[in-house]
Amino acid sequence: MKISDIQKLTEARIIAGDLLTEKNIKKAFSSDLMSDVLTLDEEDILLITGLANVQLLRTAEMADIHVVLLARNKKASPEMIQLAKENKIVLLETPFSIFRASGVLFSNGIKPVY
């Protein structure tokens, strides 16, 4: 799925990065636990989370995740936006809950990591 489709389906706002980034996202993982995200063997997945802090971006950077969706209108801080830009991470904010965002994307073909 294209990033622009993820944005449309979750009614998200783009906070950092470029919607036109040529990425085809196949899988997603939803978690607030960064230690868990750091155990994933897959790269280039979509991360859906309610955790809005700098460590979210550091975790994405280390785990080679390039698209992050902040659920339930959690707001990215200027430091988070800065880190997202530095690491070419597309950061989106959706009003949807983690459950709803995950459900909508799942029913449109995004696969779970597990």
Partner: protein, 136 residues
């Protein structure tokens, strides 16, 4: 090549700075991205452990042509039972650490999974040395 970083206990905004620099250096050396990921995840969880559990620490990374050795030395409470601390789910993390997205007792097991050699030496009331090596 030697890289040295200071890590402040409690400073969650800076946790990951060392891992980030190390990642950039490894990328420039054209090391395979799966290998880089394993290394930087271990460095990052170890860095977070100093921020979460210790007062302050120093991280030294030595990068050779076919390996990286990372040593993290901290001043802090130490680990009472290293074997137990290595078990998945064992954690003494504070609520604040859990709010940061850590503190589920998954850090040390994940470090172990991602490195080729690991040594942890700890003295109660003094501090901890975490040393690991990866080959590429």
């Amino acid at each position: 090549m030697e890289l040295v970083f200071e890590i402040e206990g409690g400073d969650f905004t800076s946790a990951g700075n060392a891992s980030s620099k190390i990642k950039k250096v490894l990328k420039q050396l054209n090391i395979d991205s799966k290998t880089i990921k394993r290394i930087v995840i271990a460095v990052y969880e170890a860095e977070v452990n100093i921020v979460a559990h210790a007062k302050k620490g120093i991280l030294k990374a030595s990068i050779g042509s076919h390996f990286i050795e990372v040593k993290l030395t901290d001043k802090g409470p130490g680990i009472e039972d290293v074997e137990k601390a290595m078990e998945a789910g064992f954690s003494t993390a504070s609520k604040q650490v859990r709010e940061m997205g850590f503190g589920a007792g998954m850090g040390l097991p994940n470090i172990k999974k991602n490195v080729d050699e690991l040594d942890i030496i700890s003295e109660m009331g003094k501090g901890t040395l975490v040393k690991f090596k990866n080959y590429f």
